[in-house]
């Protein structure tokens, strides 16, 4: 921490202003309470207060190096009493010497004696404590600000780390089953194999290349989702029916990276994987009046199948990510009927946490 007074001209001015005020009180006291003439009072006030003002600048150091948190209270008190005694002795003797010298030079007949010794000591003690109090308060405020800054930086780092850990991972089973389909198609239908490799590659490139903490236009998410769907369509053929209904105004809305595909994957897993009949997976996006984006993903399912319980990490991760990025809790909802399952996301216009 820099010296609070000398670090800028503005602070020096404020400090001086404070002392002018003290000077005023000093002069007034001498004139009205002690019946001393104006010139003497002014000289006395100027000498003693300028001196203390200068000493006061230096008093920062004993305060700064006597940290309240690192010292015991007794130690601190002894320390400051010692420094105060030295300060006052120096201040008083130098002050008296200078006043006498100057008065002798200006108005020798007005030479006043060492009046008001106790008064000066009280004033000195008061000024000393007032000053170190101000210094300690400044340090306290500074530390508090610093602490808050550090905390918010830490919070941000934690958020970032959490987002990293929550990013969705490519499902190895999807990958290996797709590779198996490709290996089959290379023999039976090379053209289709080619098409599937292209789709799978663009899906993999998208999933691996992006920074997971970025926000990207919905358009890109939809393109990636389409690559993913076309790979699954080759695996499941007629069993997977895909529908989408996306409002024209939605495409440029910024959404968290890879938020759509894991939900589609979930819908396919619980709908298509478990059913023998064709299952429809549908995606709908629309802009709400408050400029946020509503995304609904739904799938039909076989009501007779006893559902395989997923680990739920896919959906949980998405809920957590939305919470961190938008600092809102109710962006995710699920509706389940007898034969359909719908997940609904609200993506606000602007994120709170941004990398």
């Amino acid at each position: 921490m820099k010296h609070p007074i000398t670090q800028s001209f503005k602070y020096i001015l404020a400090y001086s202003g404070m002392w002018v005020l003290v000077l005023g009180v000093h002069v007034a006291t001498l004139m009205y309470l002690n019946q001393i003439d104006f010139v003497s009072s002014l000289i006395d006030g100027l000498v003693f207060n300028t001196l203390f003002a200068l000493i006061g600048v230096a008093l920062w150091y004993p305060v700064f190096y006597n940290d309240l948190e690192k010292q015991s209270v007794t130690n601190l008190i002894i320390h400051h009493l010692g420094i105060m005694a030295l300060t006052l002795a120096f201040w008083f003797s130098t002050g008296v010497f200078l006043t006498k010298t100057i008065l002798k030079f200006v108005q020798p007949e007005l030479l006043i004696g060492d009046f008001g010794f106790p008064w000066r000591i009280y004033t000195g003690i008061f000024l000393y404590f007032a000053l170190i109090m101000i210094y300690y308060l400044l340090i306290y405020g500074y530390n508090l600000r610093e602490h808050m800054l550090q905390e918010s930086q830490l919070r941000e780092k934690i958020n970032e780390a959490e987002l990293n850990s929550l990013k969705s991972q490519i499902n190895p089973h999807f990958l290996f089953n797709s590779l198996n389909s490709i290996s089959s198609l290379t023999i039976t239908n090379p053209e289709k194999a080619h098409e599937m490799i292209i789709k799978l590659s663009s899906f993999l490139r998208y999933s691996l290349a992006h920074d997971p903490n970025n926000l990207i236009p919905l358009r890109q998410e939809i393109e990636n989702m389409e690559s993913y769907i076309s790979v699954e369509k080759i695996r499941f053929g007629e069993k997977l029916i895909f529908e989408q209904q996306i409002g024209a105004s939605c495409f440029e809305h910024k959404v968290p990276f890879l938020i759509l595909q894991p939900l589609i994957e979930n819908a396919i897993k619980h709908g298509v994987y478990e059913s023998t009949e064709p299952v429809t997976v549908s995606v709908a996006c629309e802009k709400l009046p408050d400029q946020s984006l509503k995304i609904s993903i739904s799938n039909g399912f076989d009501p007779e199948a006893v559902p395989r319980k997923g680990t739920g990490t896919g959906i949980k991760n998405i809920i957590e990510r939305l919470k961190i990025i938008y600092q809102l809790n109710d962006l995710f909802s699920i509706q389940k009927t007898d034969c359909s399952f719908t997940v609904q996301l609200i993506i606000p216009h602007k994120p709170v946490f941004k990398n």
Partner: protein
């Protein structure tokens, strides 16, 4: 040899068919895309060999096998490598990890041929590999449903519906609100594959859903009787009583 393919993805069926063509002794007699129709086909067609996927609609490949009284030779085809141990527990001949090469496929068929001669002599229950597998402390995932046969009907019992399980010689009787079902499995199996948060093995012959236990009454010197939600009474050993106490935290 007459073979079936049970597999839900068309391209995956296609590759098995293609590889099979170069083996004149293997004849494809059907292909099915879900567990139920596969099960029916095995019963009706009595194949010698089945290429079986694990993850399928309706019932999984493993559940399908549990429902068969007589098992043909099984070659599992799956992308899930964590099922290998379970596949061998089911006495599968081989386990093909997708995608697999033609060489690997041919190897599997070689094993099938050797095995078809061997199994005619040997009793599967004395399989030495079984003993090894029994002692492996595998990380088991909890069951979420049990598939049982009652007459010609197949019932899928969600684990949530199970009230308690009773040992019956080589079988277990699974009690639900909709009735009871006999299943060829061991108590040990259910003890390890049911969530310990919900179920406790209270006796050599009983596993019970903790929340079903309404009352415990002392019975004899060091055992108890548990009275369940619908008035059923089951024996509780001292060890079972202690476990139950932990589960109920009283």
């Amino acid at each position: 040899m007459r073979a079936l393919i049970i597999e839900d993805e068309a391209p995956a069926r296609e590759i098995v068919k293609t590889f099979m063509k170069s083996h004149a002794d293997i004849e494809l007699i059907g292909e099915f895309s879900d567990g139920f129709s596969g099960l029916k086909a095995i019963k009706e067609l009595q194949p010698d060999l089945v290429f079986l996927d694990v993850q399928m609609p309706k019932i999984t490949g493993f559940e399908l096998l549990e429902l068969l009284d007589e098992r043909p030779q099984i070659v599992f085809t799956t992308a899930y490598d964590q099922y290998a141990i379970k596949a061998f527990e089911m006495n599968a001949v081989d386990y093909l990890l997708k995608p697999f090469s033609k060489e690997r496929f041919n190897q599997a068929l070689d094993k099938v041929r050797v095995n078809s001669i061997a199994t005619k002599k040997a009793d599967l229950k004395e399989d030495p590999i079984q003993h090894v597998l029994d002692t492996i402390d595998e990380k088991t995932e909890n069951l979420f449903r049990v598939v049982v046969k009652k007459g010609s009907d197949i019932h899928m019992i969600p684990v949530e519906d199970i009230l308690y399980i009773e040992a019956k010689d080589d079988y277990v009787m699974i009690y639900t609100e909709k009735g009871r079902f006999l299943k060829e499995k061991t108590m040990k199996y259910y003890e390890t594959h049911l969530s310990t948060d919900d179920f406790v093995r209270v006796h050599r012959s009983y596993i019970v859903r903790i929340e079903q236990v309404k009352r415990l009454e002392p019975y004899g010197k060091s055992s108890y009787i548990a009275i369940l939600g619908q008035g059923q009474k089951i024996n509780v050993s001292l060890a079972g009583y202690k476990k139950l106490k932990e589960g109920l935290s009283f």
